[in-house]
């Protein structure tokens, strides 16, 4: 991270173990506020687990994780999760219409979404307003991803965590989501942390990158480090020799 950038999430010697497995090993580093940071690395590197810690769905086994300079444990879990939104590859939908899914974050607070707001959010993610009353289960993979991101935006998160949101999509849908991510980052100044397998995508969209392997952060810096990584294993990964 550039020293001028202000960190929004900071890891200080964070470890995470579960079921006897040491999944995250002594993670230290930070994500800069208002920027797009990509997380790359082979499967099983612990990237998704890192997200769970940021969103408060899991807690570090040791070490300190801070959000805006305050320990994550000092935040109420509900307000933490509203501020740190997450969209996953699975783009899980609840039973019901697109509108039911879109207003879920508000329904959970006993509120309803204004129709104009719902239409605006759909437009933001590139879905037509005519989708509102469709069954969410009938959407294509790309449409579900867009809806999943829109749903996360309802809470107006300061940080948006995206876990492999384009990996199962066709080229056109991938491009749409890439544009959407850049747009969200610019329009709402949302900090975006994005797990992707696609290095071209990381280079094109990201400002910064973390390369993770086997639960460790191997290299971090501006995304251009992916062109000339120092670490031998990262070099192999960039060449596609590691999966």
């Amino acid at each position: 991270m550039n020293t001028i950038e202000k960190p929004i999430v900071e890891f200080m010697n964070v470890n995470y173990s579960a079921d006897g497995l040491h999944i995250l090993k002594d993670i230290s580093g930070s994500f800069p506020e208002g920027k797009i940071t990509t997380l790359v690395g082979p499967s099983g590197a612990g990237k998704s687990t890192l997200f769970r810690l940021c969103n408060g769905l899991s807690s570090p086994s040791s070490g300190e994780l801070q959000l805006k300079g305050k320990s994550i444990h000092e935040y109420d879990p509900i307000s933490l999760r509203k501020n740190v939104g997450v969209a996953l590859q699975s783009a899980t939908m609840i039973k019901g219409t697109v509108l039911d899914n879109l207003e879920l974050p508000l329904t959970l607070q006993g509120q309803k979404i204004a129709l104009t707001k719902a239409e605006e959010l759909l437009q933001d993610v590139g879905l037509d307003e005519s989708f509102l009353y469709r069954n969410a289960q009938d959407l294509s993979g790309g449409q579900r991803q867009k809806l999943s991101i829109a749903r996360t935006l309802v809470n107006k998160p300061k940080i948006l965590l995206l876990d492999e949101v384009t990996s199962s999509l066709d080229r056109v849908s991938q491009h749409d989501i890439e544009e959407l991510i850049v747009k969200i980052n610019k329009k709402y100044a949302t900090t975006i942390i994005w797990i992707t397998h696609n290095l071209d995508q990381a280079l094109k969209i990201g400002h910064y990158t973390w390369v993770m392997m086997e639960g460790e952060v191997i290299e971090t810096g501006e995304v251009s480090i992916l062109h000339h990584p120092k670490n031998e294993r990262v070099q192999q990964f960039v060449k596609g020799e590691l999966e």
Partner: protein, 254 residues
């Protein structure tokens, strides 16, 4: 009925044994174990009940009911082994159901406060509650396992644990109570209930027998709904920690 005539009824055990042997169904061992267990258990209960009825002491009634609750808990806990603290949750549920139902029956003087009424009715209530508890736990655990993504989705969007598990809880409560409600709809049309049949065979007035059967049916309806709801609301908080994180179901040991 004397023991000679009772022994003749073993013909009804021989028939399935012969059929199983002939058709190589492999049911002989289980059928024999079930027969021997039922003879021993029921005879033992018969003698115990005879003693309790004669003694007419409140302590014996309490001990008898506690024995039933203990056996029901022991049986049902195996199905919910993956839920932390399921043993005491079941025990508390059965105790509350027993207090609730007997409280209404005795408090409103619907039945007399004698062991002849309290013990058989308690047996039916606790037995039914146990079956309902098993049905509920089976369905609830399956729902929790199958809907983990939805549970975590709701948590990740800022929902509370109760909101995150609500659909699974309601699905399990409905699924476990529907059989009781459905069976009540057809009762008397398809089959005569066991207790009512027993009373009629023993020479009771059929209308009187029907009245008692209705009492039991209504009682079991309460038992079914209260058991599922109580177990559900006692169980779901153990699936989350204080940081509102969804905990994995613990590995079943049995």
């Amino acid at each position: 009925m004397n023991f000679l005539t009772l022994s003749l009824t073993l013909i009804f055990v021989l028939i399935p044994l012969i059929l199983s042997k002939t058709l190589k169904l492999g049911l002989e061992k289980d059928s024999l174990i079930a027969t021997v267990r039922s003879i021993i258990q029921l005879l033992a209960v018969g003698y115990i009940l005879q003693y309790v009825f004669n003694a007419e002491h409140f302590l014996f009634i309490v001990l008898m009911v506690l024995l039933m609750i203990g056996a029901a808990t022991q049986n049902a806990r195996k199905k919910g082994a993956s839920i932390k603290g399921i043993t005491w949750k079941l025990f508390v549920t059965f105790v509350i159901i027993e207090i609730l139902t007997q409280g209404i029956l005795l408090g409103l003087q619907i039945v007399p406060p004698t062991p002849q009424y309290i013990i058989p009715i308690s047996g039916m209530v606790i037995g039914n509650s146990m079956v309902l508890g098993i049905l509920f736990l089976n369905r609830f655990i399956a729902e929790v396992e199958n809907q983990q993504d939805e549970t975590e989705l709701i948590l990740s969007l800022g929902g509370t644990p109760k909101q995150a598990i609500h659909r699974q809880l309601i699905a399990a409560i409905k699924a476990s109570t529907i059989p009781t409600i459905e069976s009540q709809k057809t009762i008397g049309l398809v089959q005569l209930p066991g207790m009512m049949s027993g009373q009629i065979i023993a020479g009771a007035d059929p209308v009187q027998a029907v009245q008692f059967q209705l009492l039991i049916l209504f009682l079991l309806l309460t038992t079914a709904v209260v058991t599922s709801i109580m177990l559900g609301y006692l169980s779901y908080p153990t699936l989350f920690n204080q940081r509102m994180q969804f905990m994995k179901l613990k590995q079943e040991t049995e």
